[in-house]
Amino acid sequence: MDVLLPRSLDEALAMKAQRPEAMPIAGGTDLMVEVNFGRLRPPAFIDVSRVPELSVVQQENGHIFLGAGVTYAAVVVGLTVCRPLVQASRSVGSPQIRNRGTVGGNLGTGSPAGDALPVLAAYDADVVLRSQARGERSMPCGTRNAMVIAVAGLCLQVDEDSRRVKIALGSVGPTIIRAREAEDQVSEAMESAGVWQDRTKRPDDAVIEEFAGRVAAAARPLDDVRGTAAYRRHACQVLARRALSWALDERALPSWL
């Protein structure tokens, strides 16, 4: 086995052209597990982790260019304009994994559980591919045809400017449902407990529990083959409790973590 260490993108592409069987390795957080367990033995690795062109983040007339080698840690610190990608990146693994794992590696592995992928798909991202023979081409990061139909879905937003928690439910009624009573209750409770003023504060657990109950009460689910109405309502309660707890944990963290 060989390890090739290119210092520029052109050099990396030349190496790949010469040794087509060589496998790029970036953070190694997917590949090294396979190597360590003896499941992967490529004839050569090309280390792309020090190719400077791949760690570029650029904003240009409303578009974001994200190098394949940008780590999750770099997204968290540097890409605050794209909150959903920051949030997805923060949820990956641990600090050690986020310091090495890259968005390009997430695409390369292409696991349906890849946390960066739904965000790229939601933004209609284009993936730019480059090789020495074919130059540059771009393809849409389409959603895969693996249909997963949710039994319940929930989107929670903590809006610091208007001091409101907003929550929408999917798959548990004829339309998307906003749980407005729950929103009022929790937003006001956070006001009176001084949570909006101080990011390290949390409302009492009882407030979160009441919020979850009100969210579940707002759902209007049906029984069908994928789940009963009672199960869906219960799922809303659990999701609401978790989503709010996670959001409160996250706003208490320093911005580098």
Binding site: V3, M32, D47, Q96, D249
Partner: protein, 156 residues
């Protein structure tokens, strides 16, 4: 292949199988046994070191990726015979039982305190989420972080 790396300030080189991890370069190549091999899949953090200043699991770095780079390990924390503040705090807080996870935790805590001298409990838990301990139940470890942070603040 021969890998040349600056480890704790000193340039060293060793011959390794090209598929080796940085962890095995450190242990088998350089005889630095502080970073531990427990899971080899990035889950436990007992192999934590700094690569060019970033906290990483050395089991997931290909040894060749550390070529001509800077690595800092738990062995580099001590100053002569004087334990590092974080190491001393682990001893004083009783945060060590079998000790297998300890070097990884010490490195992760030192990394945390370099970024945040007064971490909240949520920050501590998140910063240490990549390190597993099968013995202590974590509370003593969190106590050690708080102790190290308090001493760090008292110093300056």
């Amino acid at each position: 292949m021969v890998v040349r790396t600056r480890v704790n300030g000193e340039w060293r080189e060793a011959e390794v199988w090209p598929g080796s991890s940085l962890l095995s370069l450190l242990r088998d190549g350089f005889g630095l046994y502080g970073a531990k091999n427990a899971c080899e899949q990035g889950e436990c953090g007992s192999c934590s070191v700094w690569l060019d200043g970033a906290l990483v699991c050395s089991c997931l770095v290909l040894a060749g990726q550390a070529q001509e780079r800077e690595v800092r390990t738990v062995e580099g924390l001590r100053d002569g015979t004087q334990l590092h503040n974080v190491q001393q705090a682990f001893v004083d807080a009783g945060a060590v039982q079998c000790g297998f996870c300890t070097p990884g935790f010490v490195v992760a805590v030192a990394d945390l305190l370099e970024k945040d001298r007064n971490p909240s409990s949520v920050t501590i838990r998140e910063a240490l989420s990549g390190n597993l301990c099968r013995c202590t139940g974590y509370q003593k470890i969190v106590d050690a972080v708080n102790l190290a942070a308090t001493r760090l603040q008292a110093r300056t």
